[in-house]
Symmetry: C2
Subunit: 281 residues, 2 copies
């Protein structure tokens, strides 16, 4: 489960068994470098839980569908993941996971509950008849990266240093007080340390862009209630194109639909999250 690597992401999702008396239970650590907006990034948490489930499902290493319900804000520090295999199938298996920490009083508190269907993405066959088209983006060097950010990276923005994210200039007006009001952000993504994408890192990427609400004139953090990711293929090496948007901000909630395209032009992941509209100051 631990790998000999200097990859930040692999260190972040690394798990150890919680002892012989706790089958299906794993321990790990959430690093301060994965904080954003007051908590640990939701996609990273989902990837940690997914890594635990992968250990329990040999032959089916990859989620084809994984749903996470976020219950309380995660903090830097130790974590546990308790897994339960629900069903082992021929082409698909199902399992659930509960990621928890200890709160400030040392009491166990659940952070994330996950249910998933796992398969071997590399073994999927069947024709590819994708009718969706990738987002049209200027080349990465013409997109907006961290070097253009006017403010320093403070600890509550530490997540941004894990990414090489280059946003389409047409979708960063919000950063200078001019949101486009389309509710869409898109750009190029790769991990800052050069680690190539794989199924588990796609779960992180599905929650890596700034919230779509920035582009609707709502600054502030938008807590995730639920996130479901469909992984549809093993991604090729190289840049990912990521685009997300919302069409139904209402009643204090909004949905955020994300698509991730790999360097070979495959739509490798689709996700939707439900999040709370940021509180107005």
């Amino acid at each position: 489960m631990t790998t000999v690597t200097s990859s930040e992401f692999d260190r972040a999702i690394a798990l150890g068994p919680d002892g012989p008396d706790a089958p299906g239970r794993y321990t790990g650590e959430l690093g301060a470098g994965w904080q954003i907006g007051g908590g640990i990034n939701g996609g990273l948490l989902l990837a940690v839980a997914a890594n635990a489930l992968r250990q329990e499902l040999p032959g089916h290493p990859d989620p084809v569908s994984i749903s996470g319900y976020y219950l309380s804000t995660s903090r830097p520090g130790p974590l546990t993941v308790q897994t339960e295999v629900i069903r082992r199938g021929r082409g698909l298996s199902n399992a659930t996971a509960s990621l928890g920490q200890l709160d400030e009083d040392g009491r166990p508190v659940e952070r994330l509950r996950v249910v998933a269907g796992y398969t071997d993405l590399a073994a999927l066959d069947g024709e590819v008849r994708t009718s969706a088209v990738p987002p049209q983006l200027p080349p990465p060097e013409q997109c907006v990266g961290r070097e253009h950010m006017p403010m320093p990276i403070t600890p509550d923005l530490a997540l941004l240093e894990r990414f090489e994210l280059r946003l389409d200039p047409a979708t960063v007006g919000w950063a200078v007080g001019q949101p486009s009001m389309n509710g869409r952000l898109q750009g190029w993504f790769r991990l800052a340390d050069g680690r190539e994408p794989d199924p588990l890192s796609l779960l992180l990427v599905a929650d890596a862009l700034p919230p779509v609400t920035y582009d609707l004139g709502f600054p502030g953090w938008a807590p995730t209630v639920e996130l479901t990711v469909h992984l549809r293929a093993v991604p090729a090496k190289g840049w990912l194109r990521v685009s997300h948007g919302t069409r139904n901000l209402a009643g204090g909630y909004f949905e955020e639909d994300c698509e991730i395209w790999d360097d070979a032009g495959r739509l490798v992941a689709q996700s939707r999250q439900l999040a709370r509209v940021p509180r107005q100051a």
Copy 2:
């Protein structure tokens, strides 16, 4: 939990407690009238589980987000739902449910595992800034209903008699061997016995249309792997407009995105399911 009503849907989701020694556990019955394509309709199953969770979460009667993972095909006959409350919050609570039956050998088998976030949809405030637009449909009387179907309703199509579904003529070419190849179906929906829509019936409606794969030239049933529904408002009385489509049929799976609009023009529900492409004969 049982209501004095002749509504087919309310009878279908009705539950009783499984005795004082089984807290959080309910019993019900899946009727043969809800069969389609060899099993019980997935939306109906989700609504049964959702009804159980509603009993456990007073003050938060409605799912704002609910995810179901389908594990084995459900059959007419008795069912149980075991619930677990994960967290009771002020505006949002979370719970999980496991719907099961006994197989032909009398052994318990799980049919559906559900995780959800519940709230009081009628109490949601916050502006409505929906940018999505409802599907343009001909009036119901100009759409295609059951009276136009060339074949009789056999037991494996019994579900169709529960619905008054009137499909946009532009999206029924598949019924005469001419799928449009857009991968989209849409139309008007109400329950055949006139019961008005409410949050739980929207879960049924999210899985009520024929599979989008019919419109891509794939006849045959498309089993649901996972279905997540976001309920965003209490629906107004009257007709619902339902539209669903796919953009990523690949590797033996496809996603099916559904939107449900009420008679007041609100986008009351959005859902996405992952399903298996029908096996080619």
